[in-house]
């Protein structure tokens, strides 16, 4: 009864907001490809969900809060402090009641909802958040979010529900960094202190589900957490998670009735799922996948080599090769829905210019010859092969492909030992991701391009609070990137969920982070 009235309130609020053209009731807009949900959420049932990657352990700090990694599982076990509307970036508070700054992002105050409890009944308080964020910041933890956590200089608990944090440097939009990383997940400190083995057997969080059983490389069985703070959610009684890294296998499993929801990342299989009558929901993230050109060494030390390759590549042909033409090319840094959108493309195909530059460099004794380090996924390999095939049509350019497996990726990044590789910069708000990826002072700057004007514009975009001045700063960023070509953006990513027609409540936030507590199955 309570659930029904809550839902009606939500529906009424959304309807009103839609009239105003600003409904934020569903994170990513209504899913497409299937019938609209009808009726109130139904409690009960088991959802069979397919994820892309199995975690190596259940430590929230070492999992990853994006669709391609363990976002769904992390949200299920640990809940969320905050989420956002991935279309507008507007923050929504969940276990956190507020996350505010009154000094332009130099310090923040995190306030938790009173009475939050972990699944074992112990309190989820500010001290627990501090413990988790300090662990994430510690390099020895090996967290995927160590860079975002390291933006905090110090933190102190003010009272049971309030944590005050002081930043290394002001970042007004730091909430985005928290919600789009594993900092959004808080586990019981007492449970974490018991060690990895004990924790993996019985992780204690405050999420909508708890772990029943984990059979590695097979199933992760989750059951409803009766202590979940946002009752009557979750609607489902149980979730069975299976892992498949193959997008074709995931969608085939859906088609054969073997799964109710699949996390997906491939434009081609998403189209296949839609054609088969499934609902698909894709987060419209800015940025995308890019070819990082290592400017620390030849041939891409010379900006003309970078410009030549950018001018030589036909992104549409690349999309046809990788996604059968069903993908979305990334001609601009921001999508049209972003307040920072500019129609000026980052790269333009101009084969004559490309050949002239290749010839010019060869005449100077520095022909463009490089190795594309391709990761082992089918998409990455096809991208590399397509780049190689396109460039083979030009004189004085030579491309070799070296396929590397996942254990080599970290070492490649650490040593910057590559000429060209695929990376990604995905974001709703450009902060902090864009700064991390393209600022000269950032360790995550794959290309190594260190340009004074680009750095200044990224700094301004980070610290400026006036929307117009921020937009102007990111305008400069786009122009400098088009000129310097530290990267060639090849396509938008597809952080997506595919749902059977009887599954409703598909909501994603951040970088394609699906919320399990919202899912329900029509009986």
């Amino acid at each position: 009864m309570i659930r029904n009235s809550r839902f009606r309130v939500l529906v009424t609020a959304c309807a009103a907001a839609l009239v105003l053209g600003a409904c934020s009731g569903t994170g990513t807009g209504p899913p497409t490809g299937g019938p609209e949900p009808t009726g109130d959420p139904v409690a009960g049932g088991t959802a069979r969900v397919l994820q892309i990657t199995e975690p190596r352990n259940l430590d929230p700090a070492t999992m990853g809060n994006s669709w391609a990694v363990n976002a769904f599982l992390g949200n299920a076990l640990y809940g969320t402090l905050m989420t956002d509307d991935p279309r507008t970036g507007a923050v929504r508070y969940k276990m956190a009641e507020s996350f505010t700054t009154d000094d332009g992002g130099a310090t923040f105050e995190l306030r938790l909802r009173p009475g939050l409890a972990f699944s074992d009944g112990s309190p989820l308080d500010a001290a627990a958040v501090k413990f988790n964020w300090d662990r994430t910041k510690d390099p020895a933890t090996g967290s995927t979010s160590v860079n975002e956590a390291s933006m905090i200089a110090s933190s102190e608990t003010v009272d049971a529900t309030t944590l005050k944090i002081t930043m290394v440097s002001p970042i007004p939009s730091y909430a985005q960094a928290v919600l789009s990383t594993t900092m959004n997940w808080i586990a019981s400190p007492a449970s974490l202190r018991k060690g990895a083995k004990t924790f993996d057997a019985a992780p204690v969080g405050a999420g909508p589900f708890t772990l029943e059983k984990w059979t590695r490389q097979n199933t992760i069985d989750l059951v409803r957490n009766p202590r979940y703070w946002d009752a009557p959610k979750p609607y489902l009684d149980r979730i069975t998670l299976r892992t498949s890294a193959d997008s074709v296998q995931r969608v085939n499993s859906m088609i054969s009735g073997g799964a109710d929801v699949a996390i997906d990342t491939n434009w081609r299989t998403l189209a296949k799922a839609r054609d088969a009558g499934f609902l698909t929901d894709t987060v419209p993230l800015n940025g995308g996948q890019y070819l990082a050109l290592n400017a620390r060494r030849a041939p891409f030390r010379d900006v003309r080599a970078r410009r030549a390759v950018a001018a030589a590549l036909d992104l549409r042909a690349l999309d046809i090769a990788v996604y059968n033409g069903r993908g979305k090319t990334a001609r601009t840094l921001f999508t049209e829905s972003s307040p920072f959108y500019s129609a000026e493309p980052l790269t333009k195909t101009d084969k004559e210019t490309a050949q002239r530059l290749f010839d010019e460099l060869a005449a100077e004794g520095e022909p463009v010859s490089f190795t594309f380090k391709a990761f082992a996924s089918p998409e990455a390999k096809t991208t590399a092969e397509s780049v190689q095939a396109q460039l083979s049509a030009f004189r004085n350019v030579d491309v070799e492909i070296d396929t590397v497996d996942s254990s080599e990726i970290a070492a490649l990044y650490t040593r910057n030992d590559f000429d060209m590789l695929i990376s990604s910069a995905l974001f709703v708000d450009p902060e902090p991701r864009l700064w991390s990826v393209f600022h000269g002072d950032s360790r995550l700057n794959r290309s190594g391009v260190d340009d004074e004007r680009l750095n200044a514009a990224l700094d301004a975009g980070r610290t400026e609070t006036d929307p117009e001045k921020r937009a102007a700063a990111y305008g400069t960023v786009q122009r400098r990137m088009a000129d310097l070509v530290p990267a060639i953006f090849v396509g938008r990513s597809a952080p997506s969920a595919v749902a059977a027609p009887n599954v409703h409540g598909v909501q994603q936030y951040g970088q394609g982070s699906l919320l399990p507590e919202e899912l329900w199955i029509q009986k």
Binding site: R216, G257, D405, A411, R443
Partner: protein
Amino acid sequence: MVFPVARRIGRSALVVLLVTMAVVALLSLAPGSVASVILGENATPESVAALNARLGLDQPLWSQYLDWLARAVRGDLGSSPLTGQSVSAAIAERLPVTLQLAVMALVMALIVSVLLAVVSAVRPGSPADRGINAVSSVFLSVPAFIAGPLLVYFLALQLGWFPVMGWSPIGEGVGANLRSALLPATAIALTEIASFHRLLRTDLIGTLGEDFVGAARAKGMSRSYVMFRHALRPSSFSLITLAGINLGRLIGGTVIVESLFSLPGLGQLLASSITARDVIMVQGVVAFIAVLYVGVNTLVDLSYRLIDPRIRKAASV
């Protein structure tokens, strides 16, 4: 009797030792390290070096190997630095899946191949024999990574009889377990059927040409009685040898099928551990598979004495 058996076991132990040494040497040549995998792409060279030192991976290769060997002979295969799971527990968790797949595939292959070989051998060169040979050639030339997706397409996607992926343990019901195991087991069995059929057919044709078979027929025994009572048994030595070798191979060699169907077996464990450069897990799993492989082969060798009285007699002379 005791000496040959002891010599056989000694040789087997040497094989296991050499296999584990080769694995360590090969993995040391591969780029990347488990420390890099654990610390991820945000790691600094210093933090990777510190973790390598903590895991003992900065020690000389021979020292790491001897440490592992000293623990392994006491039954401690160590724990994965990546997952924290003990290697023995991981093997115990995965072995039933791989063993069931291998045994199911082998049993399916033996039943089908014996029937086909008998039909073929009764009238060599007949249309039935030629037809079976043609099918056998197809099975032999279609690897599991082609057969698997084809089986999935027709039997799972089009007909919906089987799941596309995943494993249901026997504890969740025999029916569900068999449904999840049948397609991958069939994908494995196809090649085995072809090789078993060809081998047994040749041996059977040879045996059916022997004088004692002719004598049995002359005594008025029926064709089927002679086939199953007199010809099949002496013709099955090569088949038993091959089946034994293949069972050992299948226990460690179902990687592709386990990956195709997302099955939590030893093959998947080994493949993912190699990719993650989890040397401890790889060494443990390989040592286990090697022990199993040479163990099965030793048993097969020793079983000849039970099956063939001539070998028993030769050994006792």
